[in-house]
């Protein structure tokens, strides 16, 4: 069971690492695009500001001419419209239009800045995965080793494991582990652990004795290390629950 938990933790951490890396890559790409947009917008603002200055200068010059015309000096922009010179009117309209464009551009800049801010926060969150490509694998190893150490350190904490140890269903001693590993590698260790766990999960002592021997016989009959391990997995998942249910002791135990 510990092996299964460690395996699940490894898969989980690896998936997490993978997802974080993908997210970091996406965030970096989004940030790059946002920076390009921002640079373009800044260029537009600068150009617009330059244009605005030149327009203001034109309007000021036109007003000067208009003022001179009203005082009797003829100028190139005078058409006889009361109150304002025609060039000044046109330039003022252009100026207003450009101010509207500028306001839109400023809105775009703010949006782009928000995007960059969000992206930078996302990058900071995924920084660990982005900076350390082996982080997921490292965490998986830490989880695996940690689970193994925890299992070895805890020992017979509960009654079930105590019963199992007394009955000899699970070989927890290190020499047994080594013997199992030497006999069939990790597949053999996994198989024996799962069958032992299945036996330990049976609610009644008679069932534990009976099925322990019965499943040991089945295990001996199945050829192929990993085929046996797969058999043990299905056995562990389905058998104890169904057998305890048949005995009517399902509610008395937790699995």
């Amino acid at each position: 069971m510990i092996c299964l938990l460690a395996l699940a933790a490894s898969v989980h951490f690896y998936a997490l690492y993978d997802a974080k890396t993908v997210a970091a890559n996406r965030a970096l790409e989004a940030s790059r695009k946002a920076n390009v947009v921002l640079a373009n917008v800044k260029r537009e603002i600068l150009a617009s500001q330059g244009y605005q200055k030149s327009l203001k200068a034109r309007v000021a010059a036109d007003r000067t001419i208009f003022t001179d015309e009203t005082s009797g000096i003829a100028g190139p922009g005078f058409t006889g419209v009361a109150g304002f010179g025609p060039v000044a009117q046109e330039d003022q309209m252009i100026l207003n239009r450009d101010l509207r464009i500028l306001r839109t551009v400023v809105g775009d800049v703010q949006t782009a800045q928000r995007t960059v801010g969000t992206t930078e926060r996302a990058i900071a969150a995924d920084d660990f995965a982005a900076r350390s490509p082996q982080a997921g694998l490292a965490w998986s190893l830490v989880a695996l080793i940690g689970s193994g150490l925890l299992a070895a350190a805890t020992g017979p904490l509960n009654a079930r494991r105590s019963i199992v140890r007394q009955g000899g269903y699970l070989p927890w001693a290190s020499q047994d582990w080594q013997r199992l590993y030497a006999a069939g590698g990790w597949a053999q260790v996994l198989t024996v652990m799962l069958v032992g766990s299945a036996v330990a999960s049976l609610g009644h002592p008679d069932d534990r004795d009976r099925y322990g021997e019965e499943w040991a016989g089945d295990m001996a009959n199945i050829s192929g290390k990993w085929r046996r391990a797969w058999w043990a997995i299905t056995l562990r998942i389905f058998a104890p629950h169904g057998i305890n249910s048949a005995r009517g002791e399902l509610s008395a135990r937790k699995y």
């Binding site: 008679d206 009976r210 099925y211 021997e213 019965e214 499943w215 040991a216 016989g217 089945d218 001996a220 009959n221 199945i222 058999w231 299905t234 056995l235 562990r236 998942i237 389905f238 058998a239 629950h241 169904g242 057998i243 249910s245 048949a246 005995r247 009517g248």
Partner: protein, 117 residues
């Protein structure tokens, strides 16, 4: 093994029917769990609970194989045999199961080129 709910009818699922059918092919002989699982092509994890339910209901009895493990070079097997009442009940359950499944087949649409049977 004495069970609390002795003689109560077991829950009849398709898996249970398949196990019963496999055992009824040779109702008097004894079979061990892995052999039944291989015959019906189910994981043993699902077959053992079925056998436990059938045994609790009295349809099946089980005994240890009469061999010496050291001589055989393998652990003893638990052998399952249909009881007399169990075999009758199993045949009835299979017949009931077929009756339940049959209407689904009879309502099948007939192809125009197919002659009515």
């Amino acid at each position: 093994m004495a069970r609390k709910s002795q003689q109560a009818a077991p829950r009849m699922t398709l898996h249970t029917l398949a196990v019963l059918q496999a055992m009824l092919e040779d109702p008097t002989s004894a079979h061990y769990g892995l052999e039944i699982a291989n015959a019906v092509n189910f994981p043993t994890g699902t077959v053992y609970p079925i056998m436990a339910r059938l045994e609790a209901a009295g349809w099946v009895s089980s005994t240890w194989e009469n061999v010496t493990p050291s001589e055989e070079g393998r652990p003893r097997r638990r052998l399952y045999t249909l009881t007399g009442s169990g075999a009758r009940a199993a045949r009835q359950a299979l017949a009931d199961g077929r009756r339940l499944i049959a209407p689904a087949h009879s309502t099948r649409l007939q192809h125009p080129t197919e002659s009515p049977a």
